[in-house]
């Protein structure tokens, strides 16, 4: 399996996540190398979103370790006691990964360019002109050069999601997490967003995405990860996962997705 690569950018070891009594992740192991495009598939409730949110430290987790470029994320051991890092460190670590949400989550009071500039200015500490130039470059790359000064309220769903993608990528993250980013879109707007992701993948960005678009996943991914009940049940290259699934639940899931 491709999981044992020595140049792993992201390493997830024995990740356990509980919401109260409900164990949602039950020991997830997963490595992601630089330049990989990983699609996470699996039925609703299997823990895909929670996994991405743990990686971006939007959720706390109770056991296991996540390392990004070898640095432990979110926690450190002090005298054998596991401690959540202070807000400042969490912020720095979060800025190393980008996240694109199903519901866009653009800042409504800021224009498209300002949405992108905020992180560049306050986190990356760029000057105003430099941040603006970078925002414009990225909006151009996602095909929105004409929408630089529009507020989110003046954009279509597909355009909003492309701004959100540009906002995440302009920060030069090591890794970008995308959670069902086309699920809230009207069908006719899905393709423009998927196309944008394809272009990023082709340019070598490291992506970890949760998707229900099987044809897209097959097309864009270097590896497919199938999650089932809080565990990675099977993973492998797209041809193998879609062509010769081994896990009975995966075969069943793919059968259902095809309809």
């Amino acid at each position: 399996m491709t999981d044992t690569t020595s140049t792993a950018l992201l390493e997830i070891d024995g990740l356990h996540k509980r919401f109260g009594d409900l164990e949602v992740l039950k020991g997830v192991d997963l490595n992601v190398a630089e330049g990989e495009v990983i699609s996470i598939i699996g039925s609703s409730g299997s823990g895909k979103t929670t996994l991405l949110r743990c990686v971006n430290l939007l959720e706390e987790f109770q056991e296991g370790e996540i390392r990004l470029e070898g640095e432990a994320i979110g926690y450190r051991e002090v005298n054998g006691v596991r401690k959540r890092l202070p807000d400042k460190d969490l912020s720095r670590q979060r800025s190393m990964t980008g996240m694109v949400f199903q519901s866009f989550n653009l800042f409504p009071h800021l224009t498209a360019a300002e949405n992108i500039m905020l992180g560049l200015r306050k986190v990356r500490k760029l000057g105003k002109d430099e941040a603006r130039a970078k925002a414009e470059t990225w909006l151009g790359r996602v095909g929105l050069a004409e929408r630089v000064d529009h507020h989110p309220g003046q954009l279509s769903g597909g355009q909003k999601q492309r701004v959100a993608i540009a906002r995440a990528l302009a920060m030069d993250p090591k890794l970008v997490l995308l959670d069902e980013i086309t699920s809230a879109l009207d069908p006719e707007l899905v393709q423009e967003v998927l196309q944008t992701v394809k272009e990023l993948a082709a340019e070598g960005a490291t992506l970890m995405l949760v998707t229900h678009e099987m044809a897209f996943a097959r097309d864009v991914s270097t590896r497919i990860v199938f999650m089932e009940q809080g565990l990675v049940a099977e993973q492998g290259p797209p041809e193998q996962i879609f062509g010769a699934p081994k896990h009975p639940r995966l075969a069943e899931f793919l059968g259902r997705s095809r309809t």
Binding site: N56, L57, L58, D87, K88, S91, R92, R94, S95, M96, T97, G98, M99, F101, S103, F104, N105, L106, F107, P108, H109, L118, G119, K122, V123, H150, H151, G153, Q154, A164, R167, A168, M171
Partner: protein, 217 residues
């Protein structure tokens, strides 16, 4: 009529100083009260339960108490405790506390009504919590709070009239003193009413102005 105009001229100094005191008290209370209210709103929304508790009790206690009682308490209680506060300071203390409690509850509602995704997107970018408040939450919260804030301002101006009860020389007390001299009860209460109307109209149009400036598409 000419007698009324004559009396008006005689009392314009007193009226003016009453207006000044009313505006001074209201202004100070709403500025300080809003700043404290913002902190209370943040604590009520984002702090853990135990840290929230004393603020919750404060807000509910103050909001359940008539303003006049707050004023009397701010005037008499410090004296009992051996702290001497003049009537003006007591009045500002009471109205500031009143404003802080109301604004705290208003800010809490506004922070809670901002979609959770906003905070998450801000954190995902790497903004710290204070940066998230400053650049993402506050700009949205201010817009939704504005109409209620203007209302609270008007409430404070009305509330400030109760300070006449502890001898603060605001507009109502001055008006009563003037009437005590010339016995033109109707006329001078009308004058005072008119002035209050003007003050509240000014507050209202200031709010409208801010609202216009702060709208986005």
């Amino acid at each position: 009529m000419s007698e009324f105009l004559h009396q008006l001229t005689l009392s314009q100094g007193a009226l003016l100083s009453g207006v000044q005191v009313t505006i001074y008290i209201s202004f100070l209370s709403i500025i300080i009260g809003t700043a404290i209210g913002l902190v209370i709103g943040l604590v009520l929304t984002y702090a853990p339960f135990l840290a929230r508790l004393p603020f919750r009790i404060y807000v509910d206690a103050i909001r359940g108490t008539p303003v006049l009682v707050l004023i009397l308490a701010a005037y008499y209680v410090p004296a009992v405790l051996g702290v001497s506060l003049d009537a003006l300071s007591s009045g500002i203390l009471a109205l500031t506390g009143f404003c802080a409690a109301h604004m705290g509850e208003i800010f809490r509602g506004a922070f809670q009504s901002v979609e959770k995704g906003q905070t998450e997107a801000a954190r995902a970018i790497g903004l710290t919590f204070p940066q998230t408040v400053r650049y993402v939450l506050l700009p949205q919260v201010i817009r939704s709070v504005l109409p209620t804030w203007v209302n609270t301002g008007a409430e404070l101006v009305k509330g400030s009239t109760l300070l006449s009860a502890i001898g603060v020389g605001e507009l109502v007390l001055r008006t009563q003193e003037i009437i005590g001299r010339n016995f033109m009860t109707m006329e001078f209460y009308l004058v005072a009413g008119l002035i209050f109307l003007l003050i509240n109209l000014a507050i209202e149009s200031f709010g409208k102005y801010l609202e216009r400036r702060l709208t986005y598409a």
